[in-house]
Subunit: 217 residues, 2 copies
């Protein structure tokens, strides 16, 4: 079976890729990374490339120029706009790229149909639900049905981490000896993880006890 | 109320735009046209531009380069690949761009959320159901729910022609004195409508009795 996975270069999709790589019923993995022109995107993409190579996945980078051009989000602006603090807090809402998962998944679904892949994977998790409406189970459930009905091949959308936390994902990765150094989280996109932005705080909490990340002191 | 409409430059979305233009509860119309690199797309886009201008809609053209690059469809190839005959027949399947409506609607939904629009319109109709799975009521219904749950503003997806035929749309247009000459259907994308490809045959049937289109003899 061929599958498609959305690979951001972050730890969640990295761990998922490493899990799928081990499944004997999957013959080929096609990873898609989306370049929506954000600052931290450039860093993420380099990590996605490394991950895809490491897990023998075909890798395509899809540019979405219209997002930076027409959409609003602090992720797409200047580094100063990125809020610091806890990922789940109200001010993190400004980092939302509207309907990003809907857009990435729809494109990935069309691509899956094009190459006769049967399943499409995304690594959204329970911790995302607070701020990102397009990570919630209700959204994923309806999109899953839309994809089933909207394709000739009845593409199956799979979101195996939808009901577990980032900590749980980290523990799965640990068990699989996944190298977290090969992933990027920081929204600020400097050379090292800043350790202060929402995703850095979240990463630290998830990897506590076995975090190999170098943070800016 | 602000709304977003997907405007292809064809007669269906043209008639819908002319209907929405008359509604007093709509204060601003934002039309999105997608350029997925097909032959007939260039023609369509010129007509979409004209329609948007005529109905005072803000108009943006969104390029989707990845479709031509990575997707399979006879629409994206050479003119010889376009099948002739009836729109609803089996060989028209090759003109499907996989999950096209899913992709366009997801992008339009993110854009609607970005500009605080409340509703998103698409002019798919009952005649599309035969060959395009992403035009069917089941697909639209689930995507509608996915958009409701997947956005902060609970964007409402509207598909007012989902259960009527292209002939019905033509009759609505006739009643509104809509000028069908301002729209483009032909998949072949020459100077005039070919009159033989699937969409030309469908257009002829819909406009029978009041068709102002010049077809190649």
């Amino acid at each position: 079976m061929k599958i498609v996975i959305i690979l951001s270069g972050g730890m969640d999709s990295g761990v998922l890729l490493s899990e799928l790589f081990l499944r004997t019923n999957i013959s080929a993995i096609y990873a898609l990374t989306f370049d929506y022109g954000s600052r931290h995107n450039k860093r993420e993409i380099a990590y996605a490339r490394k991950l895809a190579y490491g897990y023998c996945a075909d890798h395509k980078i899809i540019k979405l120029d219209f997002i930076k051009k027409y959409f609003k989000s602090s992720l797409l602006g200047d580094m100063r706009d990125i809020p610091e603090g806890h990922y789940a807090s109200e001010n993190m809402k400004s980092t939302v790229v509207p309907f990003r998962n809907g857009i990435m998944l729809s494109i990935a679904c069309g691509y899956a149909e094009s190459i006769n892949a049967e399943e499409l994977y995304i690594a959204n998790h329970a911790g995302d639900h607070f701020i990102y409406p397009d990570c919630r189970p209700a959204f994923i459930g309806h999109l899953k049905e839309a994809m089933h009905h909207g394709t000739f091949n009845n593409i199956r959308l799979k979101s195996p981490y939808c009901h577990i936390t980032k900590r749980d994902i980290a523990l799965i990765g640990k068990k699989l000896k996944f190298d977290f150094k090969n992933t990027w989280s920081c929204y600020k996109g400097s050379n090292k993880h800043c350790g202060k932005c929402g995703t850095c705080v979240e990463r630290k909490e998830a990897l506590e006890g076995f975090d190999p990340t170098e943070y800016i002191k």
